[in-house]
């Protein structure tokens, strides 16, 4: 917390044409004062209240200093103007062509333009990866709304990690590349077999991932144990399942594999290191138990995952103060309202509008 506070202070000071030594001196003075309050056994909140917000401190210290002008080149202007273009396009499509259902997509232009402008400047090879979520969202929405292909239309989202891997291919060797691609191979096989009516036991194809992954093991013996445990587990699972019709019990066939993974450190069970405050652990346990209890009772799995949002909400409430807290909370509020409107009232086509509260809140609060 102290570090964050000082970093914020330094960042704000960096916006002014002040000697570096002077900035360092101010930061050092605040570091000393912070420590002095700590010695008085004050909480971080109390200390930061006594020292003042970095924004206010800087305001009182930079009298007579010139603010470094922000870069306002052509690219920045293009990015700045994109929300207005989107808004105009939104109304033209809506009022002019009655395409309200699709017109919201023009707002995707804002991040798309920013990505294209910023990443093309540096010739970043990951530009297509960065753009893929937007392309996938548009394709998914059109497939769903136009042709009712929500399933298997969601598969278009696979393009995101696939492009990520493709664009990183130069940094990978062949084995790493194969391991990276194995989830997609498994996923495609699973869907293919599933659509033929074999979702069970087609899920076993996901063992392709650790199977190929074993080739990355440095020790031959370990790789052999993993591969043989997978083969043994799958064979025994199918044998017990089909012979005795005891599919739950047959899952124990994978026990040797799981035990080996735990011993080998591939599976690590952790509750966070010593720095994680108890509140986080309690909230996490409540979220998991609440999720399971509500989901099993209501069977509303589509919406009950929202319960997990209490974890980031708790974290924000605890760590973020003032205006920033309200702004940081709005995405979670918007998401919850969006899901409730969509799920209970089937207003998916309109519910997305609620996400506008995020920039609106940010603008109002910052103003």
């Amino acid at each position: 917390m102290k570090n964050e506070y000082l970093v914020q202070l330094k960042d704000l000071l960096d916006r002014y044409e002040m000697d570096e030594s002077e900035k360092q001196e101010i930061v050092s003075d605040y570091s000393d004062m912070y420590d002095s309050w700590v010695a008085k056994e004050m909480s971080q909140e109390e200390i930061e209240e006594k020292l003042g917000k970095p924004k206010n401190i800087v305001r009182s210290l930079v009298e007579g200093y010139r603010r470094i002008p922000k870069p306002s080149d052509k690219r920045t202007k293009i990015i700045a103007i994109s929300p207005f273009i989107s808004l105009i396009a939104f109304f033209i499509l809506g009022f002019g062509f009655n395409e309200w259902v699709y017109s919201w997509m023009v707002f995707l232009l804002v991040p798309v333009i920013a990505i294209v402008v910023e990443m093309s400047r540096d010739k970043d090879p990951h530009i297509t990866t960065a753009l893929s979520p937007f392309a996938a969202t548009i394709a998914f929405y059109i497939l769903g709304m136009q042709y009712g292909l929500w399933h298997p239309g969601w598969l278009v989202f696979i393009i995101i990690p696939m492009l990520g891997i493709f664009n990183s291919r130069k940094e990978m060797n062949l084995r790493v590349l194969l391991v990276s691609l194995s989830p997609f191979l498994a996923g495609i096989l699973f869907i293919y077999l599933g659509e033929k009516g074999y979702y069970h036991p087609a899920w076993l194809v996901f063992f392709i991932i650790p199977f190929i992954g074993a080739t990355l093991e440095k020790s031959f013996n370990k790789a052999l144990i993993i591969v043989s445990s997978i083969v043994f587990g799958v064979a025994l699972y199918l044998y017990i399942g089909y012979t005795f019709e005891e599919w739950y019990w047959s899952l124990f066939a994978f026990l040797p594999l799981v035990l080996f993974w735990i011993i080998n450190g591939d599976i690590v069970i952790t509750t966070g290191d010593g720095d994680v405050p108890r509140g986080y652990k309690i909230v996490s346990v409540i979220a998991i138990l609440g999720y399971l209890a509500v989901s099993l009772t209501t069977q509303a799995w589509i919406i009950t995952w929202l319960i997990f949002l209490i974890i980031p909400v708790y974290a924000i409430n605890r760590e973020v103060k003032g205006n920033e807290r309200t702004i940081a909370l709005t995405p979670f509020i918007a998401l919850t309202i969006f899901m409730v409107l969509g799920f209970f009232f089937t207003l998916w086509a309109w519910a997305w509008l609620v996400f506008l509260i995020i920039p609106i809140t940010a603008i109002i609060k910052e103003a």
Binding site: D29, M33, D35, L61
Partner: protein, 105 residues
């Protein structure tokens, strides 16, 4: 109280305190906030401004525990400025008392 006026008074108090003995930043803040109802976070900028105006010299003193402390020591310019402030403030107070009907001349 008018914040600007208060700021001016605090500036004078800081000069006066440090004219009595060399003090480190936290000590100044703690001492002054015990006497005057003031936000602790307003004092450091004053201290810094006075240092920049070259009324104080600073030096570091090593501590047995923790980081060395930065001490503020008033110099001749600071003393001269303090005298100006005290004189102006004294005249001002007298005038206020006269208006309020007090005993000051």
């Amino acid at each position: 109280m008018n914040p600007q006026f208060k700021k001016g008074v605090i500036e004078m108090c800081v000069l006066k305190m440090i004219s009595r003995k060399d003090m480190y930043g936290f000590e100044v803040i703690e001492t002054i906030s015990k006497e005057i109802d003031v936000n602790e976070n307003t004092i450091y900028p004053i201290l810094r401004r006075l240092t920049k105006a070259e009324y104080f010299d600073t030096y570091k003193e090593t501590m047995s525990i923790g980081a060395p402390r930065k001490y503020y020591k008033i110099n001749d310019e600071g003393m001269a400025q303090l005298k100006v402030y005290e004189s102006e403030f004294g005249k001002f107070i007298k005038s206020v008392y006269r208006i309020l009907g007090g005993n000051e001349e």
